[in-house]
């Protein structure tokens, strides 16, 4: 009798991933010289209305600049509170 293939349990945890990503982006890229950081107004604009043609560079910058990432998270949290 053919054995039914048992599915391997997936140990991927969404909340763990979110927590890790948050900590990683907030701490791993200090960028103390603030090289290439966009002004606050640009972060605010992207948080309010993201447009790829305009904000692609900022979006990429957030993936390797922890201070900007933390600021962007603050702006997003502020907008969420207002809404």
């Amino acid at each position: 009798m053919p054995r039914k293939k048992r599915r391997q349990p997936d140990d991927f945890n969404e909340e763990e991933f979110r927590g890790f990503l948050n900590t990683y982006l907030s701490e791993a890229f200090p960028n103390r010289q603030r090289i290439g950081c966009p002004p606050d107004s640009d972060l605010q604009r992207m948080a309010e209305c993201p447009v790829e043609a305009r904000d692609a560079e900022i979006s990429e910058h957030l993936t390797y600049c922890s201070p900007c990432f933390r600021r962007y998270m603050e702006i997003l949290a502020g907008l969420k509170r207002k809404a």
Partner: protein, 217 residues
Amino acid sequence: MTTDDSTNSLRLNSVDRHGRHIDPAALAAAEAVFQRALELAINLGIDYAVVANMLEEVAAEASLQLTWRAGVCEAEPIRNLPGYVFRAFERDINRLKRKEIALLDDDTPRYTLAQRWVDPSRQLEMKVLSDECLARFDFEVGDICSRWMAGYSWDEIGKIHGISGHAAELRFWNAVRRMRKQLAKRKKSLLRTTRTDPNEELKPAMRTDAQKEETSA
């Protein structure tokens, strides 16, 4: 931001990051307290660039105060401008620190330092997946990811991108799943190329013994 002159003193810009002009008197006062402000900020674990930005902002606000007080006859002038700037800076930096602490204590799960090193291989897997996602996510999925991390609901995220909450959720998780699949494939092929016969290193006689043991078990 800041500039250094030949005497290596700490200098600020005459315009803050919001484009507001700083009065020369307020700028001089801010530069006079820069060193003290920096020491305070370093003790709180705050970045040099943030201090400069914040001092420029405080100086710009002090400039507005100076202009207003000059225009109103009854208003008392600011007697100790450097002291005024420093107190305003202290207030702002404490507010920033409180916000940072609030952000760390919010509902979003975060790792404590102790937890982070509990399972290094798992952490490495997470790091590899994170790097892969950050490098390969397109603009839309990247933005969905940021808002998901900030605690937005899928409906809120979908609304911003003009799609349903369910579609936003699917787009994000499908992208993550794709990354995980690719990583799993790479891991498998890496294992295949590095795996060797466990008895290969043994002498022929010993190999037979070991194989015998395996079959009897």
